[in-house]
């Protein structure tokens, strides 16, 4: 078994109102100096050894992310 992380982020050109709301809240909470926040998703998968990178890419591209609005990165975490 291996641990695989898939990070999904809104594409840079796509408006991210959730990230903006977080960014706007920070100064109100007394945290200054944060100029931008983008909010995405982080998936942790426990993966059998025979699942190859191509299969993981397909999972990310066809299901975990919507490539119309999101970018994705698959990372294998060494045990």
């Amino acid at each position: 078994m291996a641990r695989v992380v898939v990070d999904v982020m809104p594409k840079p050109e796509i408006l991210d109102p959730q990230g903006q709301a977080v960014a706007n809240a920070l100064p109100r909470l007394g945290f200054d100096g944060i100029t931008s926040v983008r909010q995405g998703k982080h998936f942790e998968l426990e993966v059998a050894d025979d699942v190859d990178d191509a299969a993981l890419a397909k999972i990310a591209e066809t299901f975990l992310a919507n490539p119309v609005i999101e970018d994705w990165v698959v990372t294998r975490i060494d045990a």
Binding site: I14, L15, P17, Q18, F63, N66, V68, I69
Partner: protein
């Protein structure tokens, strides 16, 4: 005219969609998400709600429901398909329509009666409207912001595939104020607002939405 109305776990507006079909003298046929056949329907409506709790992304899991495999196949052969609200999101996730729906730009869930302009009256679902007619129907969505890349937007605009456009201000940050679009063949339509809630002045703001379902009747009869 037999019109299938799909129910996923979390669908809300299947009952109103079926009622709208009956108001247009059609027969509403209940389709369950786990069904593997479409029960010989002439058209399919994917109604609004929160299929599968909107987990992952709105429509992302519904797209893989068994019944959607049948819808995609039938749509490929020209069957009329209408996606309303969550149904629009499902059709985009299923790649039956281009683009994607994202969180409203000001984060608010928008729930109000909304004016739309019918810019394309040559689809299977809009033939009863005059071109550029303005209709008032409810809009109720938190993820209604239509997004697509520039080339897709140019294609939609250039081919007249923007069917409905918001009038009187952009409620959710949709690109080009797009409220609804159609497929290249004009048989598949998706829109965020809810025509099925506006078929009868007793229960809706207007009966402006009924034209969608009457248009389908014409499309099916003439086919």
């Amino acid at each position: 005219m037999r019109v299938g109305v799909i129910t996923f776990p979390g669908t809300l507006d299947d009952v109103d969609a079926a009622r709208a079909v009956r108001h247009a003298d059609g027969e509403a046929v209940a389709l369950w998400h786990a069904d593997h056949d479409l029960k010989n329907v002439d058209a399919v409506i994917v109604p609004g709600g929160f299929s599968y709790g909107d987990y992952l992304r709105a429509g992302a899991i519904a797209r893989f429901a068994p019944v959607m495999r049948e819808v995609v196949e039938a749509a490929g052969k020209g069957m009329p398909v209408l996606g309303i609200c969550n149904g629009f999101q499902v059709l985009c996730e299923a790649h039956l329509l281009p683009g994607a729906l994202t969180r409203n730009d000001r984060l608010h869930f928008v729930c109000r009666d909304q004016w739309l302009r019918v810019e394309n009256n040559e689809t299977a679902w809009t033939s009863r409207y005059d071109r550029n007619a303005e209709i008032l129907v409810p809009l109720k969505s938190g993820e209604g912001g239509y997004q697509a890349d520039e080339s897709t937007l140019a294609e939609l605009e250039g081919e007249g595939r923007v069917v409905f456009r918001y009038v009187g201000g952009n409620p959710n940050g949709s690109r080009n104020e797009i409220a609804g679009i159609t497929s290249a063949n004009g048989r598949i339509v998706g829109l965020m607002p809810h025509p099925e809630h506006a078929i009868d002045a007793l229960t809706g703001p207007t009966d402006d939405g009924l034209g969608i379902f009457l248009s389908l009747l014409d499309a099916v009869v003439s086919a």
